[in-house]
Subunit: 364 residues, 4 copies
């Protein structure tokens, strides 16, 4: 249950205030150029303390690669990795030992396991997503060679939305601002909102949009292994995610079939393709060669820097106010996590498609 | 890839115009009273031809149980089942052999497999959901004994939405109308819309809402096996589904944490519970004992009874107009499918929680 | 737990005296010529009543293919199949309802499940191997195109052993006698022993040897997915199997490394190969291109046509004497089952190797 | 493929001369007393340099636990662990970069992956079994609370065998000698043989026997998840293992059913049990409450301290002679590895049995 994927697999471990966060990436194709700088740079994108918008915790989060690489190439053997925890203020959490924070996993973990590492959320902390970024970065190394790119961005914060589809945006601008929004003006408004919410000790949710380009036709399995079902599960496994849709998604339910259907045509090379892409690049659970795009809904962070009522572990009323250093909006730092989960899902399905053996030579 | 679940598992087979649809349900707890009438009644809920709103195809869809039951009890051994196809009009589909229907799986299957059963969509047909209803009905037999209920209903058709949360509805009314909408007035409006769309040879999408009641605290796994991630994957694996959210979902992204957090309190018995349930019954991926509720977005059916442009398998422009008998709106018949997938997911997680061994006696 | 394999998967159901035995074969490569006659012929090899050596039960065991094949080709979709039971003498087993047969699964099933289909062993009956033969035959269709063959034979019955390695035998003779032993003289002695044991109402064990030829280098995974580990698990899952070894196996433990090591050399084409094959075609868990060979130990059948002491389900002493029609030695009919399990395992690993993506183009 | 188990799962990484060996143990029941000293002591049993019989490499092999434990208790979250490599003489292996050692995995890894860490065998090194000992030790912590014990011992080295069943041995003597043989006289002869073989630069194989006591009735699944099939796969995944049998195994194939059947009787408490235990504690793939015992065949180590012919990676003839420090017989150090794999397999099946839900309350 701490393993993600089928042929490309990430297994993770680690708690917020334990010794570290790490994991094992298995099923990595052999012979890939292993680009450690790139992997670290992906980790840096989710690191706290990048800007005034994010938590001021300063963790260097350096990844150590423990196996699976030899003389700069992946060997096909599992890649173990470890990111040591540091700069922990466990005492910030002493008051949480005996109570349950609202809308956190404190209560459910305690009831499920009977024992709980209360420090910083323990296993339920978003620090767990460090492992996902490492796994995703390794997946991206393979996707890069296959010509497949994965790009996510913040498309909505609270009520402030870009309001245009990704096709009308310049996605090269995503990393030019702290919000990771490709529309600079909207980004400024989002940043202002986050700062204002933060000043109130409150938090705010939003939506991340993700686009996968260059995906060949044929990824995804009928019935239960549909490509979008696995993308959905991947996104919904990220902390604070409450929803997923792709193509026209929830917004398309009011449409008629005659409005939403994508007609087939041929492109300049004569290849069959869709004239429009309302389907989001997937039909019958299988990629059709068009861009795959989807949305991920994030709730506002549950940790508030203001007093909230709750009960202690004996059920007695009490109040809780977070100490410590927390994000008022997770979206900017969640953008690389969304990309990581998408990259691993797509690569996994690429390998599954290879393993279907439909390339076995048949008698003619 | 045609298997769903971990400890409770459904493996399915079958095409729309082949000999039949069937599967194997594995991991069924032994000793359950096997209620064949109930299973057949669940199948009947998805059967075509139930009302003027659905396709006039008349298939009896009788399920034959082949194994795993002895003297009225489940034996713990796999339950094989088969629903023979009948009343097929394969010739209705002859014109589809050489072309790709817009927004169908024809193109992606053909490119992925190199071979395709074009009749009625083959494996990509929604007839495949017959197997899900059988698996779900068997799961419900176990959930019933555990005091867990699963109820879905049509909450939106096109732009017509109920507009109230499930807590303000009488869910016992769901089966009283052909749309499966618990608000009789809204149901009438929905039915009128579906008929009007159908008359135009067009189709319409919508939203199904599902509620799981009686789920104990502790179902769901941290990290990748979160209960809502598995529910999401289950829903997204259903034909025509484009989105999933739970709790406040997409609608909650505009809220502040202070508005959305669920504070803990105690109930009349002194047990700890949430004062509100914006989280949708799941926190940190684990059920918290409150109702679980989620929404599933369905696109309009791709099959239109009017001409649409497309290309043939050689890329030459052509047109396609569906013959045969088709639904203008899948939601009424998809309600039992949503319930079935939810029931299997919840039971699977119930068994996983048992298998976690957290009940192993520890030294005191 | 009733599913075998990873990318090529067989899921089975069915009891000895239920409606039938069947299953689902998933992960079958698309585009294979589907040879139903071959599949039926493989089933016929395990059918009872083939010769005077086997049980006189006469079941036709006709397989019905329910899906996954279109116009003579596999479609890549799951293949459902069913073999109806017939000619059951369930009343032969009435006396078993209240007691536990020695060395059968009656006791363990009853204690595990609390409910038991006592007729003919229920799920624990060797009739379950029908499904394996169907799955194995489909695997062989794919292996045939890959130039990989799987051949098993009876190498020992009781104390009567061939005493020569497979390399000194003409395996084309396997099907020329009822014992399925490629040495005609030894076969006669084995047959005589089986008849004599049968006349005493007793049973006898033996060894089946299996050879896989044409397997390319590179099948099998390091650590836990070693090719021989999966072959071993496959064989040990067959009813009555008590042991598995490959290469020099148990007989080689007395040797020195200098006696058992296989030195590398080059063949006539200059390709690197082993000079000897004591390793059994697998090194480090991965096929090395040489023949894979292994042995499977079968215990004597537990069902005796003579009185044996036992207890009833309340623990009271009683005696049991089998009625019905039973094999005195399962090996002749187990030969195709061993082949089937080997074929599925090898094809599964072939697909896993494809899915490893080691063929992904790397930057040079 | 680097993951072992279903509900209790070990995922491993690491090469002989990389930074370290480690892994993730997932599915550990929450609330276990975590005994780090015990885990380290299990690791110490496989450590090189314990006696004159084993390789003189001196590695301290200290395990660092990175997660999943809080205030001395397991939390139900994954346990990450790492054993740093040290005392590596990688230059001992420089000569192996361009050639393939006989009966090693050098050739198969090279052909499978196209890239190979030649130092000390890389991933195929028996150092990988460190991870298994850690996982096994954690499993033993749980089994201990369940009253289940796992004990292995060296029962044969080369031709020198104990010649008596485990029931006639005092297994408390296993750890009293360097060979881990419970018969002190036989142990001396084995030790003398190993020394003599070592002096010749040669190696020798043998057999390890393992006994599981206290296993409740009901572990193991019908069809493909038989308890002995999973034990067999577990053992065959250990480096140098060539065979597995249980109960009477290969030695029983010459027997009649009337000789090998275990009759049922009642014990002093009136509970139903077997009068004899030729079945090895498992019937129909499910534990019957009697001791489980099995044998594991090890080939002689392939690394010889003498010249052997081979070819280089271009196929040119050459010779290889191991430098470095190597075992002449792996069995003494493999005893804890056999126990570890058995412990994980049994605990996994214990959890699977819990997860079968056969304890779900049924209507009466």
């Amino acid at each position: 249950m701490n393993t993600f994927g089928n042929l490309f697999r990430l297994t993770t471990f680690g708690e917020s205030h334990g010794l570290g966060i790490g994991g094992v990436v298995d099923g990595v194709p052999a012979g890939l150029d292993f680009d450690l700088d790139f992997i670290q740079s992906e980790l840096d994108r989710r690191r706290p303390g990048q800007s005034a918008l994010t938590t001021p915790r300063r963790e260097s989060d350096r990844v150590e690669i423990l196996s699976g690489v030899f003389e700069g190439k992946t060997t096909g053997c599992p890649i173990g990795f470890l990111v040591r925890n540091e700069n922990q203020h466990s005492s910030d959490y002493d008051n949480l030992r005996q109570l349950f924070r609202p809308s956190h996993a404190d209560f459910t973990y305690f009831k499920k396991y009977g024992v709980r590492d209360h420090r910083g959320g323990g296993r339920s902390s978003a620090r767990e997503t460090i492992s996902r970024c490492v796994g995703g970065a390794i997946a991206k190394l393979a996707l890069r060679q296959l010509g497949i790119s994965v790009t996510a961005y913040t498309s909505q914060v609270g009520p402030i939305a870009i309001g245009r589809p990704y096709t009308e945006l310049d996605l090269s601008l995503v990393e030019t601002n702290a919000v990771r929004c490709p529309d600079p003006e909207v980004a400024e408004a989002m940043a202002a909102l986050i700062k204002s919410v933060k000043a109130e000790g409150d938090t705010i949710g939003g939506i991340i949009t993700c686009v996968v380009r260059g995906c060949p036709v044929g990824l995804g399995e009928p019935a239960f292994g549909k490509l979008h079902a696995d993308l959905g599960a991947a996104m919904l496994s990220i902390n604070a995610v409450k929803g997923f849709d792709y193509g026209m998604g929830f917004e398309g339910v009011g449409q008629r079939g005659s409005e939403q259907n994508d007609y087939f045509t041929t492109d300049a090379t004569g290849a069959i393709t869709v004239a429009t892409n309302r389907s989001g690049g997937i039909q019958g659970g299988i990629s059709n060669g068009a861009d795959i795009y989807f949305r991920v809904a994030f709730k506002p962070v549950a940790t508030l820097l203001r007093e909230q009522p709750t009960v202690d572990i004996n059920g007695n009323p009490t109040v809780v106010k977070a100490r410590g250093r927390h994000d008022a909006c997770v979206l900017p730092r969640a953008v690389p996590v969304v990309e990581a989960m998408a990259a691993m899902t797509v690569l996994d399905h690429y390998l599954i498609a290879l393993g279907s053996g439909h390339c076995i030579p048949v008698k003619s």
